[in-house]
Symmetry: C2
Subunit: 416 residues, 2 copies
């Protein structure tokens, strides 16, 4: 057992930062609304920059708004070890998601400096420009761009629902550097760790341990359009019908059945969007649009669900004489977290006498993409009642303190 | 075999009336849009009033806008024999539906007068104020009000989607008589016949005969609201879900199955409205609203379908832990047409050497309600391709001529 450094995590400073950041919101309290590049986001970022400078870190900001706050190591040519998260918040959400990972990483670095620790690898706080899909309809903009999964051309092409471009927005936010310089090289970091409030109730109900994330699920999203034939609900007899809604209903049930058929609890499949036309009480629906989200922590079973679904859709639509069009909107690779970083997290928990359990991350975080270029893992802290993206979102100071302590000690070991 | 009167139906006058009326439209040709009480409707009614006066008929108009154009019989104290239809037209529909039955009845009366026929019962052209549900969301306003199925209080309470009341609209249309005087007494007419363009393709494909309607289907409309529990599409495992969409999908399929299980082609059931909330790709739907239309020409099998559905909904929602609320929006009684009037129609077809077939009316007409207070039947003329409520709606002059001839001879026999 390694003797931990004597670190003094200042939980009051963390809670004060959380409090201050919650005030940068487009909506009044208790809800927090902070869309990327909006005025509240710009002010929150300015606050964080000031805090980083006060902590003695060196700042770099890229054209997308990713902020890199560095504490140079004794061997600064080595790849840095980084931790961080995001500050943007979807409408009327809470004050913890993202924020805890940002101010927690800042406090971890401050406590390590105060304790006289000298890293060999540089240590870096990484603030992702954005995680929520709110503004441009695409989640983890920052992580995708940093690992090159989103090219500069694709970034230039993004627009919000009002038609305003990402370029226009980032200029408004004072970001002028070329997007061509955003992507990081493979191996840019020696490791990356993201501290986050669990997006679910498991830790809070299972004895309030910390969560060490071993795998991150990723989504394949399928859009299906069905074209049947409309007709008057009275004049068209049952056997003459080509009802698109009924084909869609069968498909939605087949989505559920396909996920259950894997017998893997990790495979989840959801029809979250389902709309029909013409949508009149006395007309047979002739058009359905549906969006299906299939997730798993492994690509193979997830993609088997997709393949099974395609066959089922073909069979249902053939039987019902309904035309269909399938479009795969995205299929992000799931991630198995880096075993060495996971091992370090587990050891630190043991050394600090903290209970922990292995977790799967089932929602999107920028870490899902960071894992493509560097060893990555996540730490979850309990979330009261599993309530997230809501003003009632809550993480207890004790749990935040534990999470930040684990993060700080882990950064020390990874960079030492 | 009765020798038919020698009638000269002026098909050119009919087609000219149809042409003139098509010009009274809120939208440019070829589509016709004539919402009840709108300016186009007011002008179309004025045109018809002038035509009725020129034909020598006596006019009465009630406060709702129903127009009664009478040719007094030799025994004017007897209940009149009436024919007619409506002039209102939903947005971008055609020029024939409703109009053919109005100008056809006018020409029938004119031809009978010209031929020197003297009715014993008075003959009457009845222009229904409205059939389409467009303005106030309720179909067959006129027929419902005339038979007392819609009370004056209910009429006063009707508003359009912009909040403008029926009373306001009818005042705009120059109608001031009290709605309390709209309802007709039981037995007010000795018979009522409505000539209409078939709302389907059967006559046009089956040899272009005329249709003699023997039964009119009516609708029971069920509104179902489902309340499940939302949750993140990634974080909520399959077996923890209370997905309202999946319950709704099962119900929509059960609606189809319940109609098919009757083994009656006349029973049709349709889920025409189906909407979900929140409708986001990564959220489990927690709310569904659906509207189900069940029709039959007999109330009993239709209501058995409803009862079977209620049990199925209970079972589906119980199994899926989804709350539900059922609301019966309406349940109009289906109609068996008056055998004596039907018999007269059949005889007239035979005497005129016209082929005819028995039909079921599956869409709503004011006749469905008139049947509650007097012997009622309908004549259908072929409709090209079954295209209705569309600018391409078309009935051939030859078929219109045949339909009007049958109507005229039938009115002569019923009133003679």
């Amino acid at each position: 057992m390694m003797q931990p450094i004597d670190l003094r995590i200042d939980i009051e400073a963390i809670m004060a930062d959380i409090e201050r950041l919650a005030a940068y919101s487009e909506t009044p309290p208790p809800g927090v609304t902070r869309l990327v590049y909006g005025e509240a986001d710009v002010r929150a970022r300015a606050y964080l920059r000031a805090r980083c400078l006060a902590t003695g870190l060196t700042l770099r900001e890229d054209g997308l708004g990713n902020l890199f706050a560095r504490w140079p190591g004794s061997e600064p040519e080595l790849p840095a070890v980084a931790a961080g998260s995001h500050l943007d918040a979807p409408p009327q959400s809470g004050r913890f998601a993202g924020v805890v990972g940002v101010v927690g990483a800042l406090e971890a670095l401050r406590a390590l400096r105060q304790a006289g620790f000298q890293p060999r690898h540089s240590l870096e706080l990484l603030l992702f420009a954005s995680e929520a899909p709110t503004r441009f309809g695409l989640g983890c903009l920052a992580g995708r761009a940093l690992v090159g999964a989103l090219t500069p051309e694709e970034l230039h092409a993004l627009h919000d629902s009002a038609g305003r471009s990402l370029d226009d927005w980032r200029t408004f936010a004072g970001l002028h550097d070329p997007l061509e310089q955003v992507a990081l090289a493979q191996g840019h970091y020696a490791a990356f760790v993201e501290l986050y409030i669990e997006q679910g109730p498991l830790l809070a109900t299972d004895g309030e341990a910390l969560g060490v994330v071993r795998a991150m699920a990723a989504t394949a999203t399928l859009h299906i359009q069905l074209n049947g034939v409309s007709g008057h609900a009275g004049a068209t007899l049952m056997l003459e019908r080509r009802d698109a809604l009924l084909a869609g209903a069968e498909i939605a049930l087949a989505v559920e059945a396909a996920a259950l058929a894997t017998s893997r609890p990790h495979t989840v499949a959801t029809t979250g969007m389902f709309s029909i036309e013409p949508g009149l009480a006395n007309m047979i629906p002739d058009r359905v649009q549906m969006v299906i989200d299939v997730r798993d922590i492994a690509a193979e079973p997830r993609d088997q669900v997709l393949q099974a679904l395609e066959l089922t859709v073909e069979s249902i639509c053939g039987r019902r004489h309904v035309d269909y069009r399938l479009r795969l909107l995205n299929a992000d690779p799931p991630v198995t977290c880096d075993p060495a970083v996971v091992e370090t997290l587990v050891r630190v928990c043991e050394d600090l006498g903290l209970s922990r359990q292995f977790m799967v991350s089932r929602t999107y975080h920028n870490s899902l993409f960071m894992a493509r270029i560097c060893p990555t893992a996540m730490i979850f802290i309990p979330c009261r009642g599993g309530v997230v993206q809501h003003p009632d979102e809550y993480a207890a100071p004790d749990h935040i303190l534990q999470g930040v302590a684990v993060l700080a000690h882990t950064l020390a070991r990874l960079s030492g």
